[in-house]
Each structure stands twice: as C-alpha cells, then as structure tokens.
Amino acid sequence: MEPAISHSAKRRNSLFARIFRVGLISALTALIAAAWAQPSTAAGDAARGKYLFDAAGCLGCHTDIKNKGNPLAGGRELKTPFGAYYSPNITPDADSGIGKWSDADFIRALRNGVAPNGSHYFPVFPYPSYTGMTDKDMLDIKAYIFTTPPHKTVNKPHRTLPPFGTRLFVGPWKALHFTPGPLQPDPAKSAQWNRGAYLVRAVGHCAECHTPRNLLGAKKTDMDMAGTADGPDGGTVPNITPDRKTGIGRWSADELEDFLDSGMLPDGDFAGSDMGDVIDQSTSRLSKADRKAMVEYLRSLPAVDNRIEAKKKSPAKIKKKK
C-alpha cells in the first residue's frame, strides 16, 4: 500500500534526514576532534608556550608600555588608517581578562578571529596570520599566559571610523579576505624551509607589517612582503623580498641572521621603532636554528620590485618647534 505521505512531505522528510545526518557527522567529527585535542589540552606546555609567545610578539601589543601598563593588561593604542584600536586585557584575570576562557575559546579567537560570544575580532589582532598555528602551539601559549599574574584592567573602547568600527563589517570582510586553518607544510621543501615558513608566516606575522594593503585593509597578495609607505603609525616599512635593487637581495644570509639577532643592518645602522621591538621581543629570543630557518624561507620568497620611499614631507607636515 502506498504510504499516506505527499510528495513534498517525502522530500521534506529526506531533507530532514539529510540535515540530521550532516548534524550527526559534524557532531561525531567534533567529538573526534575533541578527543584528539584532549591530550594537548591537558598538557599545555607552558615553557614551550613561552617560546612561542615570544616568537609571536603577544606581549608588546597587549601591554601599554608607553603608559607603564601592567604586562598583558592591554590598553596599548594601535593607530591605523581606520582609527585607533586598543588591545584588550589578556591576563588570566577572571573578570577583566581571559581567566574564564576554555581552550576552545582560545583556539577559536586565534584560528577564526571569533570571540566567545560569537562576534568577530578586527584584523588588527593578527589572527589572519596566527590562524596558521597548530592547536598544540596555541594551547601551549595559553598555558603560558595562564601562569602570568592576573591584572584587573578594564578594556578601552576602540576609536574608529565607520564602517571600520563596527564588528558587523568584519564578517563580510573575513569572507573575502581571510582563510582560516593551520599552515600546510610543503612536502617538496626541506624541513628547515617549512619551519621557517611557519615562523615567518603564522607565528612571526611578518606580512602584517611588511605587505602593503588595499583600501579595505586587505593584504595585496601579489605584493607579498614588498613593503609599504603606509605602515603602522604612518611610517614606512621596507621591502624584504629578495629583490636586489629595492629589497634585501644583496644581504647575505649571515647579515639577515645577524639582523634578526641584534638589529644591525649591513651598513652599520640599527633598526629602531616597530622592528626594534620585533627583534627585542621576538626574533632575538629564538634559537639560532629557528633564525636560520626564517632566513632560508625569506630568501626563497619571490622578488618584488617595489621601492619604498619616505613620503616627502610637505612644509606643513614638518615638525614645528614649540
């Protein structure tokens, strides 16, 4: 006997079944993933985490050094063409920091740029790079952060221009310009090259400053690491591709390694400003082997001909004597 069910109802049924099946599969996947992540969750290695925390430069951005703020308590001003952002408190304080965060919350923030309440983070938080880190590395960083002293410091609101100040704008932006997921090793390349790629791209987030951006603040992919005259705080950021004329193609591997260790340029000058901080807080604290790996990777980048010149100051912009 024909079941007393209409055609459309049948179709709806099978749709439900399909949704149910998909739901079941993703629930299972989540379970498996959770089980998989379990061992590293339990054993977040704080010592290993400290090394990665340094390599990733979390401290500098999340500490208001200028106003003698507490470490990781946030409040540092980050000026961008879209306005001023203030880093939040990421100390383990339960109320004003991230003390109540689960491992999954932490991974979601770094991997997907999504807050525990589901809202999007602005990409001034360099999660478009950190997304490339492994779960284990993220959780080791969390383990380290949770060994640091909690500080009660309430977050400052950002002062940004519309639409860049609204989180609703970030969703569509991410859909266009952001691909989440751990960096995939290139099996055709050496282990050292792959380690270097991981440190430069995911952890060290060098491209966040060294790659020029378009009007919407998205990195220009064909200008990878080619420098910009519109860097953080309106400063210039040099071209670090191996182009011999406009990049660092004439630096020896030794010179580049030395630079990441001490800040000395081949001509005897010393890096200051943002790069001085990167060297102090990150690259100089890495092992020699890791610096070598970064150098190997950097020297393998495609050369881009892009001369970065300081913007000629118009007379009005020259500093006035007070």
Binding site: G263, P266, D269, G276, K319, K321
Partner: protein
Amino acid sequence: MMISLLRTGAFAAVLVTFAAFPALATEDGAIKHRQAVMKAVGGHMGAMSAILKKQVPFTKDLGVHASAMAELAKIAARIFPEGSDFGETRAKEDIWAKPKEFAKVVQAFITESEKLAKVAKTSDINAFNAQFKAMGKNACGACHKPFREKKK
C-alpha cells in the same frame, strides 16, 4: 604714506629674515651635524661588522674602529641640542621630554664603547665579538628604539 608703509614693511621683512635666519640655520646645522656624526658611528660599526664576518681580512684594524667609536660616544651627548627636533630629522621629541632616560642611553653608549676599545687591545676575537653585540644592543638599539622616529 604708502611709500613709508612699504618701506617699514620691507624693513620689517628684512628684520624678520635676519632674526629668523640665524636661528633656522643653527638648528638645521645641528641636525646635519648630528646626522653626520651618526653616519660616522654607523660607518665604524659597518666596517667592524664586515671584518668580523670575515668579508675582509683586516682583523688588526678592529682596534682603530673601536677607539674611534669610544671617542665618538663622548661627543654623542652634545649632538642633541634643545630645539633640534625642528626640520628634517628623525630625532624624537622624547629626547628632550625625557632627559633622564635619554641620558641613560647616552651613558650606555660611552660605557659599552669604552669596553669595546679595551677588549680590542686583548686580541681575544670571541670576547670582541660578544662586546660588539652587547654594544649594538645596549647602546645603538636601546637608543634608536625609543628615540628615533620611523621613516615617514
């Protein structure tokens, strides 16, 4: 009336030019001089680096560069006269706003470069290398980071 006004105007203009010009010239001069001294400092640094990396065989010249550096460090305190943050310079206002912190890095430059000149006399190349690095970090880097503006 018109003519006398014009004449006063011209006179005033001349006066202003005279008054402003020397001040501008000295401040501009101070900036040029500072940058020249810093280039000399950088020149010795670059030369020592090339020697230490064995790009050139002039190991015995390390002492010359090291003592030159120690001498240059002594004039470093003089190359930042008040008001010389006016014009094409990367010197930050904090040099004058935070004189105590600035004096500390100037002193670090003097101390570290004296140590380097001393080590040069022992011909212990490893010790020299280590002190060369220490000076770079504690003097050059430690001052450029807080007190030198990025290129804009």
